[in-house]
């Protein structure tokens, strides 16, 4: 057999001989003071715990810290309806992006991600933007049944010229960390959005600056186009690329995959009995591979 990498990556227990450090003393004391079942104090964003020791791509991570970014995504964490709507839109945009990328129904179930169009890149990236004001505004329109909705953070462009909008002349293009002025969007009497191109405010997220514009036709969102995208350096480009999802349309048959094992979430001993791993183990036993 040819030479192969050593298995030195599996660590030994050398760390175990270290003396217990003061921080752990403190932990043990805290636990001693906190009797069984006693509630914890509510977590405070920005506490000492959240030492941002390894935040990815620190150069571009200026807009938010991880805790404050994620906390609003949790139910009951005081997040507004607009934020929830933005999330819904972001998810919907990501889905449509995947569809446009040709990996929707009928696509090969497994393989490398298809290379989607730029518009789908930005739509998928939108999923990773915690709250993009422009998208929140767009969604407000899309979901609206009244005509009183304001397009927050976006600038409506004339419906008569929906496509001829070079990025350099977009009125809504503004500096990072700010959004364009709130502008009332043209909403028709029946509550649908007037045809046209709507430019979102530039949004600074951890990957860089993102700005999109949405094209509406017949009251429907028909396209999302990229105006600014954080591909200035290789680092942020990598991150941007894995913000592009691939749709898993159907499960791969384990038989055809000829695998040695399965990684799933924690099997309880009961659920193991109904798992693929147990079938693999049974097959091994049946073929005489035993200890």
């Amino acid at each position: 057999m040819t030479s192969r990498p050593s298995n030195s990556g599996h660590r030994d227990n050398s760390e175990a001989r270290r003396p217990i450090d003061p921080l752990l003393f403190q932990r043990l004391e805290e636990l001693g003071n906190r009797r069984a079942g006693a509630p914890l104090p509510p977590p405070s964003p920005g506490s000492a715990k959240q030492t941002n020791a390894r935040t990815a791509n620190a150069k571009n991570t200026t807009a938010r810290t991880a805790p404050t970014k994620h906390a609003p995504n949790k139910p009951g964490a005081g997040r507004g309806a607009a934020g929830a709507q933005a999330d819904k839109l972001n998810a919907a945009l990501a889905r449509s992006a995947a569809a446009r990328a040709g990996v929707a129904t009928g696509a090969k179930p497994v393989g490398r991600r298809a290379k989607p169009a730029a518009s789908s890149k930005v739509a998928a990236l939108a999923l990773s933007v915690a709250t993009t004001a422009a998208l929140a505004g767009l969604f407000a329109h899309q979901d609206s049944t009244t005509d009183s909705v304001i397009l927050t953070g976006g600038t409506a462009l004339p419906a008569a010229d929906p496509t001829a909008v070079p990025a350099t002349t977009v009125p809504g293009a503004v500096a990072p960390n700010t959004v364009a002025p709130t502008t009332a969007a043209p909403v028709s009497a029946n509550g649908t959005i007037a045809d046209g191109t709507y430019v979102g405010g530039a949004s600074q997220n951890r990957f860089g600056t993102v700005q999109v514009q949405a094209v509406y036709s017949g009251g429907q969102l028909t396209d999302v186009q990229i105006l600014q995208y954080p591909d200035g350096d290789r680092r942020s480009l990598q991150i941007s690329q894995y913000a592009i999802p691939k749709l898993i349309t159907s499960a791969i048959s384990a038989q055809s995959a000829s695998i040695n094992g399965v990684s799933g979430a924690t099997y309880t001993s009961r659920s193991y009995a109904a798992s693929l791993q147990s079938a693999i183990d049974a097959a091994k036993s049946a073929s005489g591979v035993t200890g």
Partner: protein, 255 residues
Amino acid sequence: MSLHHVESVMGTTISIDVVDSHDRGLIDELVAWFHEVDEVFSPYKETSTVTRIGRGEVGPDDADLTGDVIDVLHRCERLLVETDGVFDVWSMPSPNGTRFDPCGYVKGWSVERAAAMILAHGSQDFCINAGGDIALGGRNPDGKPWRLGIRHPDDPLGLALVVEGEGPLGIATSASYERGAHIYDPRVDQPSTDIASATVLGPSIAEADAYATTLYVMGVEGLAWLDAIPGYGGCVITHDNELFTTERFDTYVVS
């Protein structure tokens, strides 16, 4: 000339394959190790060290603070910082009623230690799968890279994708499909349910296990966090069955 054993322990089922050994004593040693871990670290056992620590019964001089326990405590402390407070064994609701539950680290850690025991035994081709937390050494019985399926979130008998790699390699998946919403986000004091599953692979299964839990809580954006850690890659599958991956993870995916 190979070993295969399945053991129910630590509330899960552990499959052990050692390709290049026929020494039954190695299996006995590994099985004894996992039962020892269960005794010390199970939050379900009234007398376990973990339960005693959670109840504040263990002082700095307690005999239960063995090298292994201190090792786990130290690494959990480091992970708390490394994960921006997301992986916090000190605020997990534990089955024993306390808020100390290092299970999210102990399973992968115990598998990594078992892998080290196999190496010390002189074998190098192995696969240990503890309820989906997998440590790989060397190559599979065919002399090829190990081939592993990652479970499809909607289908217990189907795969979402297949990865391939030589050891040393650890792979772990966190998801809610089996045990419901049990992965805790300590920052909001609530279970996390935003995505369907998160898988992490890298050189250490102990770290990969903790990172998978962290990635599950962080969601898609956690991929940027994970990608900054040398040697580790991962994927997130959403409830809409969308797959997000890091580039490093892609290098392991079988297309």
